[in-house]
Symmetry: C2
Subunit: 144 residues, 2 copies
DNA sequence: CCGCAGTTGACAATGGTTTTCATATGAGTT
DNA sequence: AACTCATATGAAAACCATTGTCAACTGCGG
C-alpha cells in the first residue's frame, strides 16, 4: 500500500510522483532553495518571478502529494495558512519565526517521554502529539 | 477602550462583555453544556435548534471575544476549522481522543520552560507554543 | 424620557484551498 | 514516427469558514 523503495529516482532524493515533470521538479527545487516554511502561494509567486511558470493549482497539488508522501513537512500558521518545508527525516519539532518563516528544527526527548507517559496515565493509547513554537527571530525583532 | 477589570461580572464565572445580552448568555450556556471542542457553526446550529435564535456573526464575535479574554480555549482542527471549549483558567494543553473528542486538560510546567528556553537560546522573542496530544481513550479503544 | 455607546444580524466580501473539465504531455507500444 | 491513453496541467469557478459593513436596535445613565 505504500510506495516501493526506489533508490534511484533520477538524481533527486525526493519521490516526486509517477511522472517527474518540469512543474514538479520546479516545486521541489523551490523547496530546496530555502529552509523556511513557505505557503503554496509564496512558492507559486517565487516560481513565476524566476520565469518558471507553474499553475497555482499544480503547486497546491504537488505540495499536497509531497506532504502525503512524507517528503516534506506541513504545518498551519496561527492564521490557518498551510506552510511547507523540506525537512530532515525523523521526528522533530519546529521553532518558527512569525515574521520571516525562519525555522529551526528542534528535538525534545523529554517532551516526547512526558507526552507519552501523561497520555498513558489517562488511559490513552496510540498517542501522537503536535508541538510547534512560534516567535520573532532576532532579525525580525530589530526592524519591527 | 478595553474593558476595565471587573471582578464581579454579575453571577457568571465568565466575563461576557460590557453587556450580558440574551445572545451572549446563550452562547456561553451552549459552551457550558458540553465538554468537547465545537465549531462556531456547530454552536450556532445547536442554538437555533434549541430555539435560541442568534445570528451567526454574533456567535463568531462572541466566541472570539471570549477567546481573547481567555475565558475559553480555541484550537484548530487538522482541517483548519476553529473549535472552542470552556476550559479552566490558566495555561494548559489538551489530551484529545480521536474517537469521541473526550478532552483532558493537562499541564506541563517543564515543557513550558523548555520551550521558552529553547526559543530564547535561538534568539527568538515573543514566544508562544502549541501542544496537543491525540490518542484513543480507554473506552474507544475497547469497541474499536 | 433622551441619547448614545454598545450590540446585533442580514448580507457582502475575503481569501486560501479545492474542484472542474477541457487540453496537453510523456512513456510505452506498434 | 505514429498511436494510445493514463497521467498531469491550469484557468476559471466553486467552496466555505471567517470577517467586514452598516443600518437598525437596545438598554443603562443622566
Amino acid at each position: 500500500m505504500d510506495k516501493q523503495p526506489d533508490s534511484d529516482a533520477g538524481g533527486g532524493s525526493v519521490t516526486i510522483g509517477a511522472r517527474p515533470t518540469r512543474q514538479r521538479k520546479a516545486v521541489v527545487a523551490a523547496l530546496g532553495d530555502s529552509d523556511v516554511f513557505r505557503s503554496a502561494q509564496d512558492i507559486h509567486a517565487a516560481l513565476r518571478e524566476r520565469g518558471d511558470d507553474v499553475g497555482l493549482t499544480t503547486v497546491y497539488r504537488t505540495l499536497q502529494a509531497l506532504a502525503d508522501g512524507g517528503d516534506i513537512d506541513v504545518l498551519r500558521t496561527p492564521d490557518g495558512e498551510s506552510v511547507y518545508r523540506q525537512c530532515s527525516n525523523g521526528h522533530h519539532h519546529h521553532l518558527v519565526c512569525r515574521g520571516c518563516g525562519l525555522t529551526v528544527e528542534i528535538e525534545g526527548p523529554a517532551v516526547e517521554t512526558w507526552a507519552t507517559k501523561t497520555a498513558h496515565a489517562h488511559g490513552f493509547a496510540e498517542v501522537e502529539h503536535t508541538l510547534e513554537i512560534f516567535g520573532t527571530c532576532h532579525t525580525c525583532a530589530q526592524r519591527h
